[in-house]
Amino acid sequence: MKNKNDTSNGVTVEDSWHDSENKINIPLSIDLNENIKKINMLFENCMDIVKREVELGTDKKIKIYGVYTDGLVNREVLEHYLLSVAFDYKNSECEIEDYRTPTQIIMQHFSATFDVKEVDKMDDLVKAILSGDTAIFVDQSEKALVIATRGWPGRGVGEPNAESVVRGPRDGFTETIRFNTVLVRRRIRDTKLKVKMMSYGTRSRTDVAIMYMDDIAKPELIKEVETRLNKYVIDGVFDSGYIEQLIEDSWKSPFPQTQATERPDKFAASLLEGKVGIIVDNSPFGIIVPATLNVFYQASEDYYQRWQIMSFLRILRYLVSFLSFTLPGLYIAVLNFQPTMLPTAFAVSIAAAREGVTFSTVAEIIVMELIFELFREAGIRAPGAIGHVIGLVGGIVIGQAAVDAKIVSPMIIIIISLTAICTFAVPDYSLTSAFRLIRYMFIGLSAFLGLYGFLIAFLITLIHLSSLESFKVPYLAPYNISDRNGFNDLKDTILRFPTFMQTTRPIYARAEQRRRLRVNGDNIQDVSPGPNSGVTNGQVDRKSGDETE
């Protein structure tokens, strides 16, 4: 069926109103009927859009046209605080003369909310309507009103699934951007916490919030974030994962270059360190930049419990994360090339267990790794109860059957299981995903060149990590720029130093804002974090501070 707006060249009138970025480039008319006509054309066949024309007042009638999206508005706000007041309104000539424009009359009388603003662009109006606000077109006015009436059913604030803690706050980000910014604002009640809003996606018009501490985050970092966000034009963004992949430094790397978190406490703490956070509407994961390898080993709980146990756990995490991508390769290298490294009794035990197994060690490892990945994927995708069954069937039944059938040796089951457990011990899922991939490089090179191949694989990984950057910060910081902040950044790495010792912010923060903790009563100018910190006697040392970084 031909569209009634079709022109001769197949382009509809409505199409011609949109620019290349899908923004509506038509002005508002002073004639209400003209505006109604445009709105009707724009929202043709959009049955979820509610439109109604009404006349207000008695002595001097004002024609208005209200538009909102059904289901996206808070009907209580709309009906009680706007419509009921409007319909009961009786005006007079003198009253009208007191005001300059009809929109100002509406703003004065009918909107019992602070959040109302005049808008003069059709694009802004349409965006507001589709975001849950109510648009009011007023006759004989070149401006329309947008009244904040957003309200839709959403998931309440719940406990983060991916980052649960024993001790610490239980609230997590949700799919509603405003809830998320509030969760952060509740933790940082400072006017220096800035929330810049922008719209991302030409079709989805997804709200994106850039959050940072104005006096702590480096201006060049904020600018870089904005530049990268504006680099691409995309039609739709449905999760922060889209943004993450568009703003990262290297698309080739399997390693995460931004930190995703569901936890507002972690998000807020990062902002206080001088990082920049990005929250995307419809996504319960906030993004934090820059992200270095070290931060992926930090869990929120590390700071809520005693430093001794958390330092121990940190060491354990580093160790097991190393094992999570090296263990299968190491096993192959030692068993196939350097069996003399193993104590004789142990080597004999392994050889006895392998008796009757037809496949080579390499084939065993690769097959079992792939089967394990299959179980993991099936377990995640399958509905909850079935997922557990898959785990049981996969882990116990098939594992035992494979050993009994001499398809794999028991040692392989132990190696693969241990590797999997090691993977789960790392707090950040995206980092373990990278480990899952590079594990195959270790397996391949170890199978090819034994321990030398293993060493080469390790070097390649290190080279990659050394050349990787996150928003121009070396990925291996602070390990390879530890001296920059007077070695203070090392206090929150493999060891988590006691809280009172962590007196400075990391290198991401502005030099003059490095001091974060001091004894009450001490003059902030009396403390110097270190020789290369960039802060000496409270002054920015221009020779050793940011300028040389």
Binding site: T340, L342, S466
Partner: protein, 365 residues
Amino acid sequence: MFTHNGRVSVRQVEIFLILQMLNTTILFLPKIAGDYVERNGYILPLLASILGVIYVFCIEGITKRFPKDTLVEFLPKIVPDFVAYIIIILFAVKILIITSLEARMLGEMISQVLLPKTPIQVIILVMLLSVAYLVKSGVEAIGRMGEVLIYFIAVSLVLVFLLVVPHGEYMQLMPFFQTNLRGIGVGTFVVSLIFMPLEIMLMLAGLMKETDKVRRAMLVPVIIVGIASAIIVLLTYVGVGFNETQRQVWPVLTLMQSMSLSGTMVENQEILMMTGWTFSIFIYLSSGVYFTSLIGSRSFKYKRENIFVLPLIPIAYFIAMIPENLVMAYDYYNKFQYYFGIWFILPVPLILAIIARGRRNSHAK
């Protein structure tokens, strides 16, 4: 904020030089030292450090005049162009040859300890390709890589130290200080060639962030490596025995093989300890390929400094494969270092500094 400026920090340069100085030579240093002063070999690295300091002042003498320049830029400002280009070419060729021979020695070592059945060509080629991967990432990545690798090397060295000291046979060091002065003189000079990587500063000084700290960046490695070398020589004598040291090609490797961590799940732990040394060699090779490539790209005024990296890999490989066997490779390596090692750490920088001073040549002018 921190990156994309193609420059390295003082700390990175210090670590970079330390890693380079702990190259293959360290593995047979006890034998070389023993050849000249017998059981007092450990004093030679300490005396050599004094020569090392002289080298530092020679190199700094010229680099401080042209703080932001590398050899390729400042040489034509001091001597006629054709002379400058000859020196630059010789420098590049020298670096490439020593890098290739180092790769060969590494290959021989790996072949002997880890992969006796694998062709040495494969071992060398794999290492050179890994080096190319790092070098293509630029000098910042090399600097950062060094800062991480130093932890592994430090652990290896400390482990060796802790394992040998309690069980050392200290009588091997007797008699003390009974040697001839000529042996000390020549030995000190030969051992001082472990500081040959200082020549890299002719290029690297121009890539430093803080060009006023070039001297410090060289002095710290000289002192650390001087002391570390003396300790290694001493530990080898007490751990392996002096006579055995003189019989072995790589006595430090024998020292590693002699150690054992009782009660652990791992045997033949020298393989683990060798890891640290391999990392050091890796940085050495990376440095060689990087600076040869940099000399090429700056000479031809290419913006991409790693443009020559891939073409250099096969050249380095073929040079590495020239010696027919381990003995010949060892001989080539020693002779090359002996005859050519000194040129760019003492005579060339000294002469250039004198000429530049005479002509009142400097970057400021």
